[in-house]
C-alpha cells in the first residue's frame, strides 16, 4: 500500500511540474527552483513532515524534500545554537545527498565521455 501512495504522490508532484513546463513554459531549472522553495515554505508551516509521514518516498524523493531538509536542519541548528544556528545546521540533513552528487559526478566525469 505504501508503494502505491508513494507512486501516486510522487507522480502528482511531477504532474504539477509538467504543467508548469507545458503551460507556463518555464525551464526545468525554474521548476526545480520553485519546488525547492515550496518545500522549504511548506516545512515552515509544519506541513511537509506530515506529507512525508503519509507519502514516504513520494515526498522524500522529489526535489521539494531538499527544501524541507534544508529548513529542518536550519531549525535544528537554531534550537541548539540560537539564531546563528540557522546557518550552522542548514546542510546537516542534505549533506549526504549533495556530497554523493558531487563525488559521483566528479568520478563519472573522470571516467566517461559525453555521448551526445
Amino acid at each position: 500500500m505504501e508503494y502505491l501512495i508513494a507512486f501516486v504522490c510522487g507522480g502528482l508532484i511531477c504532474v504539477v511540474g509538467q504543467l508548469l513546463l507545458d503551460f507556463i513554459k518555464i525551464t526545468p531549472a525554474h521548476v526545480m527552483t520553485l519546488f525547492v522553495v515550496t518545500g522549504a515554505v511548506l516545512d515552515g508551516f509544519g506541513l511537509y513532515d506530515k506529507f512525508i509521514e503519509f507519502a514516504g518516498a513520494g515526498a522524500t524523493i522529489p526535489i521539494t524534500s531538499f527544501g524541507h531538509s534544508l529548513l529542518h536542519g536550519a531549525m535544528k541548528g537554531a534550537e541548539e545554537h540560537g539564531l546563528i544556528g540557522i546557518g550552522m545546521g542548514m546542510f546537516e540533513l542534505t549533506s549526504s545527498g549533495i556530497s554523493a552528487a558531487i563525488l559521483f559526478s566528479f568520478l563519472a566525469a573522470l571516467i566517461f565521455k559525453p555521448k551526445g
Partner: protein, 155 residues
C-alpha cells in the same frame, strides 16, 4: 514586410503554426515515470531499514545517495537524456534530476580539464537549486524562529 502592425502581432500570429504539446500525454508520462522513481525510492528505503538497521528518519540519507548514484550512472551511459525527453518533469523533479544536472555538466566539460572544466562547471545547472533552497530556508527559518521564540512568548 516592414508593416509595423505585422511585427507587433507576429508572435501571436505564429502560434497557430507551432505544434501544441500533447498536454495529457505529457502529464501522464511525467506521472508514471515520476511515480516509478518514487516507488523505487520507497523500495530502497525499506531495504536500508530492514537490512542495514537504519531508522525511518535516517534511511532517507542512503536512499537519496543510492538514487543519486543510479542517476549519475544513467547520465554517464547516455540514457538519462532520453528518459528526460520522454518523461519531462517526471525525471527532472525527483532528486535524480538534480543529480543528472550535475553529472551532465561535469561530464560535458571534461574537455576543458579537471579543475577548470569538470570541477568549475559542475554546478552550472544545479547551482540555482542550492542558492534558492538555502536562501528560502534562511528566510523561512528566521521567520519561524522569531515567531516561535519571541512572538509566542508575548502572547
Amino acid at each position: 514586410m516592414s508593416d509595423k502592425n505585422l511585427k507587433d502581432n507576429y508572435s501571436k500570429k505564429v502560434q497557430q503554426y507551432q505544434p501544441k504539446p500533447n498536454y495529457f500525454l505529457n502529464c501522464l508520462k511525467a506521472f508514471i515515470i515520476g511515480g516509478l522513481i518514487c516507488t523505487f525510492g520507497q523500495l530502497v528505503q525499506n531495504f536500508y531499514i530492514r537490512y542495514f538497521d537504519f531508522t525511518k528518519e535516517d534511511a532517507g540519507n542512503p536512499t537519496v545517495s543510492t538514487l543519486v548514484l543510479i542517476a549519475v550512472l544513467l547520465t554517464a551511459f547516455g540514457v538519462y537524456d532520453r528518459i528526460g525527453q520522454f518523461a519531462g518533469a517526471g525525471s527532472a523533479v525527483p532528486v535524480t534530476g538534480f543529480a543528472n544536472s550535475m553529472a551532465s555538466a561535469a561530464i560535458e566539460h571534461r574537455s576543458e580539464g579537471i579543475v577548470l572544466g569538470i570541477a568549475t562547471n559542475m554546478f552550472k545547472l544545479a547551482g540555482n537549486v542550492i542558492v534558492f533552497g538555502v536562501t528560502a530556508a534562511y528566510i523561512v527559518g528566521l521567520i519561524r524562529y522569531i515567531f516561535q521564540h519571541y512572538l509566542m512568548h508575548q502572547l
